[in-house]
Symmetry: C2
Subunit: 412 residues, 2 copies
Amino acid sequence: MGLKSYPSITSIPVDIDLALVVVPSSIVPKVLEECVSKNVKGVVVITAGFREAELKDGVYLQEVIRSIADRAGVKIIGPNTFGIVNLDVGLNASFTPELSKLKKGNISLIGQSGGVCHLVAYMSTIYGLGFSKIVGLGNRCNVDFADIIDYLKDDANTRVIAIHVEGVDDARRLMEAAGQASRIKPIVAYKTGRSSIADKASKTHTGSLAGNYQLYEAAFRQVGVLAVRDVEDFFDAMKALSICPIPKGNNVAIITGQAGLGIIAADACYDYGLNLAKLSEETYSTILKLLPPLSIRENPIDMGPSWSDLEKCRSIVESVISDESIHALTLCFTYTSASSNIVLELASVLKNWASIKPVTACIPAPYGYWIKEREILESHGVATYPTPSRAVKALSFLVTYRKLKAQTISKR
Amino acid sequence: MGLKSYPSITSIPVDIDLALVVVPSSIVPKVLEECVSKNVKGVVVITAGFREAELKDGVYLQEVIRSIADRAGVKIIGPNTFGIVNLDVGLNASFTPELSKLKKGNISLIGQSGGVCHLVAYMSTIYGLGFSKIVGLGNRCNVDFADIIDYLKDDANTRVIAIHVEGVDDARRLMEAAGQASRIKPIVAYKTGRSSIADKASKTHTGSLAGNYQLYEAAFRQVGVLAVRDVEDFFDAMKALSICPIPKGNNVAIITGQAGLGIIAADACYDYGLNLAKLSEETYSTILKLLPPLSIRENPIDMGPSWSDLEKCRSIVESVISDESIHALTLCFTYTSASSNIVLELASVLKNWASIKPVTACIPAPYGYWIKEREILESHGVATYPTPSRAVKALSFLVTYRKLKAQTISKR
């Protein structure tokens, strides 16, 4: 491939910061010894066949590489990992070249499963989301959740820490690190293997895990970590925390271009415990002036009949977002060729407001349409979602996070 | 635009099957009179400003056009609708040119809200789904749910009827029509305006709707209709019913390429009341032979370590799907450049099986990848979903539908 290669790491004439090891597991100890003698600072061991394997050899081999690394003070990511990605510096130390194309952003994801990391990363290429670092922990030989969380809590490029947990040996250490970091930045956690059947699947003691999950969830809450129960919630919550400010309360306004979407959003407010806000007298009278009696002029506000009048749409959104009784906003509008410029128009209205009050949006469009528009909307602080329900649910994660912070702060 | 135009419908020299009316509401009665005198068979009135408007005029105008149409035996779709699409004959009688690009399929969608119809249609361009007809009912002047359901129950191109309901005047007539149709083909219903706050939003009597929703749901169940509570569930259920057979039971097998996705799927089995099946002795011993001890070799089965060996992957899937104790299968595998041909390989294995047992899949890939592969997989009867949880939940809709059918048949 035109890349220079060497017979061993010791024969390389320059200093090495990071080594990626992908040789068969039986040779990994030898390669690690060479890394130590070459003063390599960090090692990513992609090779599988260590503690996760049913063979006795695997457990033994992992102990061997751990002791080599620990003796020399070298940190190992893995073994049995897809690797790590650091988009801040353009580093892709993983087996997946496609991860180099991810958008740079402020979320750092620590995943115990490579599959879950890839799922989340690929979702981000479809629904838009930027990452700072993605770390596949693998077998956590001598680098565990707590170590990475400690590092990320002071990392200026990381605004949100997202962790995917399957099972840990030292839950206390994880919770302590998370508790420290959550004072500084939001942490969202997704623990899989919730049920006893999934428990059986992950080969831990049958029947004990459903209870264990409750413990994880309670512990996360106690240390100020937002716990979610599905991978879409994980993604949606990290997106909201990455882009939006935390709301001052749970009074939500819904502005829609199509009444049907507004009603879905209102159903979602009910489902997720949010309050469909009463508009102030002033806002209400403004809306009455701007909208014809064809439409729903309370909350949710259906600006559908005024689509074609961008100036009116601006004014409606402006009057609602500046209403002091409103803590958060969800915007829904469906693509039509006649109104394709509405997203950019509203993005400019929300540019300043979305850093003060959280705004989520659902702007459904045919495949490939409104891609650039959605990116601009998100660069202005509006987090977009595929359905009105998920746009509202995302706000509910922010409201839950706000309560969580208030509780943990009052306890300190 | 190079299209021939006439000053009025009466001056057109040929017979007219269908007229689209988009003139201001006050002129609609006059145009309708002309349609009647021209013997037009059907009319779509896109114009708004009728019964849905707060103005008294609107209610009156709708009564006027209804009486003109009823006297002449003409059927009106609308008013206040985006229109209708019939993909079987390439007809797009709507205000949205993009709907012409939808994939032809076997689902017919009747929507009370244009916004919801567009949302579902646009979702189909992203997640893959084909339609036969989409009907925006609008104000249901003299064509209501029951009329369209009656028609679709005997329509050879419609395999699944999907209905979005906001509120109806004659719920009994809807339920009777649905009860007749559900003996012949599956109906999935999504009723919005579930909560009292959404109820307030849709301006019906405050507080009564939460109770009303329970009535709708119970009535749907009694007449054999599958009721869902969110637009993503609506979409996912219609997709499964459109592509998959109904399972004989609720024993689910999960085969995955990445253990993490398998564990998410196992969690979802627990959440949605499905049974993570025990493999037969024969299947289990086959799996033990095919997979190295690096992997989970029970259910969920992690064929990750054998990615590169397509022959092994084929054999694993074949042995599981042919296992008599398995009623349904969910497949999860994440895109990697090294394994990009796995989807086509497994599609060929499942080609015959997916018409006997339902198979759903989650095959996450970066934006734009695996588009053709997903289409081929779906053309072989495997319904794909964005996450493992939704792939499993889709199976649960099929299991629920099976129970529903069994109950309604035993009552008859």
